[in-house]
Symmetry: C2
Subunit: 199 residues, 2 copies
């Protein structure tokens, strides 16, 4: 029998990727205040890379504590555009503000993942994708928001690249699994190493 795997995430996208890849797992939503932790990290001068990793660790360990003996996979994603770090949008107005800020510019999407057992990190992976949002029209943005709200509010950049979000970009460099929130190829390789899936 293999060790049970728990995905420490409330993200629908992460759950779908892992399920689609044929992995069996449970889901536990981490009980940490991401906003507070993020602001502490920002105050201490952490960069996007560091913040994504620290948040992934905090979420994963908080779930690991509740599932002794299990493997726990957690992840976090940070979006940086010209030095500015973005947070998730809660409303259509915030999504519009984010998309207008990203319009015509390049941004980095930093995705960090870790696997822990008994509150100890056993594996880590962080990867950055670089995406360029084209200069879309106001009419396009209206049409986009009408079609995509509320689904995109859970996504930091207000897009699902595998859906209508593809229309936002002139260039996409990086792994699409990472863009969707999980470095799936390295994660699967780690899960084989831990005996969770067949090698």
């Amino acid at each position: 029998m293999s060790v049970p795997l728990i995905l420490a995430s409330s993200s629908r996208s992460r759950r779908i990727m892992l399920e689609s890849a044929g992995v069996t797992f449970g889901v536990t939503v981490p009980a940490i205040d991401e906003a507070i932790l993020k602001s502490v990290l920002l105050d201490s001068g952490s960069d996007g890379h560091r913040i994504a990793e620290e948040l992934a660790v905090a979420k994963t360990l908080s779930v690991s504590r509740r599932h002794p003996g299990c493997l726990v996979l957690g992840a976090d994603q940070v979006l940086v555009c010209e030095g500015r770090m973005f947070s998730k949008s809660d409303t259509e107005a915030e999504a519009r503000e984010t998309l207008n800020a990203l319009c015509g510019r390049e941004h980095q999407l930093i995705t960090a993942a870790i696997i822990a057992r008994d509150e100890m990190a056993l594996w880590r992976h962080t990867e950055t994708a670089v995406l360029t949002m084209r200069k879309f029209s106001a009419a396009f943005l209206d049409q986009y928001l009408t079609a995509e709200i509320p689904e995109i509010l859970g996504s930091i950049g207000c897009y699902h690249i595998e859906g209508r979000g593809a229309q936002l970009f002139s260039e996409v460099a990086g792994d699409q699994f990472c863009i969707r929130g999980l470095p799936l190829i390295p994660v699967l390789s780690a899960l084989r190493g831990f005996g969770v899936i067949a090698a």
Copy 2:
């Protein structure tokens, strides 16, 4: 009113990508004998790149002929591993042979797309992704084929990277839309240029 778009393809994956991106289009399956054309091109010494482009052109123009005035988008994909070009598998035995040949090796997936109107190519794009299949076990392959047959028979490499196919790879370099059969980001950019979708 924008010009109607027709997707010249029998591929479920291409249809889903384009639909998910929010594009409106019709579908017409090309009526050409790909196998004959491919063998003629191979006999004349064409490489994978050239074959993907010629097949994409032939499929697209055959559909364009039946839809005067419409924009027609077609694509083709060729898989090359150590000089050998692969064809689609029709049976589980053929899929097993293909996957065993790719196991532990790097292969190129060449994806060509064109847009035509009135039997004239107006736009072309060809892109190559490089994928490395890990050395999976015979037990894994049995499990994989049980889960994925018949769905993967339509795919030249016998995998859907967005599904359980992700478990086959140790490394994936290239655009995931291309791997799934369509260079979606450049296609969307062309469709904006032709006024099919909002800019």
